[in-house]
């Protein structure tokens, strides 16, 4: 299991490939890999968004991401999981978050990936500030899904 915060742009698919290549004997046991990639849109709530700043609570954010993944690993038979989340300044089309889970079967992989993502959105301490044509604004709540 790996949790990481990144201050710079990253390529989620390269990260998945790189991580998977280091998993040793996993390929023989693994029948399902579920991947979610969250990407920055250039619009939100009816307004164009030019840039975004992602603030976090150093220490607490990592701790809560770790806990979310641990809960998922108790709930479903996961072989491994990788979570990478951006912090700092982002531009439209930049990846924000990667959640990848490996399991023997797709049901656990899909369910755990979804669970980690939804828990992350509702519990991990991150805050988005968007730059729009009418100035900066803090995002007040998440989109429904």
């Amino acid at each position: 299991m790996k949790i990481e915060l990144r201050a710079r742009s990253f390529d989620p698919l390269l990260e998945v490939g790189f991580y998977q290549s280091g998993l040793g004997e996993l390929p023989g046991q693994c029948g399902a890999t579920a991947i979610f990639i969250g990407t920055m849109r250039d619009f939100n709530e009816g307004e164009a968004v030019h840039r975004m700043m992602l603030e976090h609570y150093p220490g607490m954010t990592e701790r809560h991401l770790q806990r979310i993944v641990e809960v998922a690993a108790r709930e479903w038979p996961l072989l491994d999981a990788l979570v990478i989340h951006r912090v700092g300044d982002l531009q439209p089309n930049d990846p924000i978050v990667l959640v990848a889970v490996w399991s023997a079967h797709r049901a656990a992989a899909f369910a755990a990936c979804r669970f980690i993502m939804e828990e992350l959105k509702s519990k991990a301490p991150f805050w988005k500030r968007e730059e729009t044509a009418s100035g900066p604004r803090w995002v007040e709540h998440n989109t429904p899904g």
Partner: protein, 77 residues
């Protein structure tokens, strides 16, 4: 006792600072920490609180050396 206080997101912007340090005597709750530092400003309704990086209720008692954080609802992912 000394309490380190942190603010995040829109709350940090609104207060114009990211941290405070509170020196206090006697028993104090999380909500009491806010009142001691911001007697003129009620704690915004949707504010979440944490003690030592764990989510906490405003009624939780704080101890010397604790780190208390106040922040708006989270919006990551």
């Amino acid at each position: 006792m000394t309490i380190d206080v942190k603010y995040f997101g829109s709350l940090r912007d609104r207060l114009g600072r990211a941290e405070d340090r509170l020196d206090a005597v006697g028993e104090l709750t999380v909500a009491g920490v806010w009142v001691a530092l911001h007697p003129e400003t009620p704690l915004p309704l949707n504010t979440l609180t944490a003690v030592n990086m764990e989510c906490a209720e405003p009624t939780q008692t704080v101890r010397d050396g604790d780190e208390v954080a106040f922040f708006p609802p989270v919006t990551g992912g």
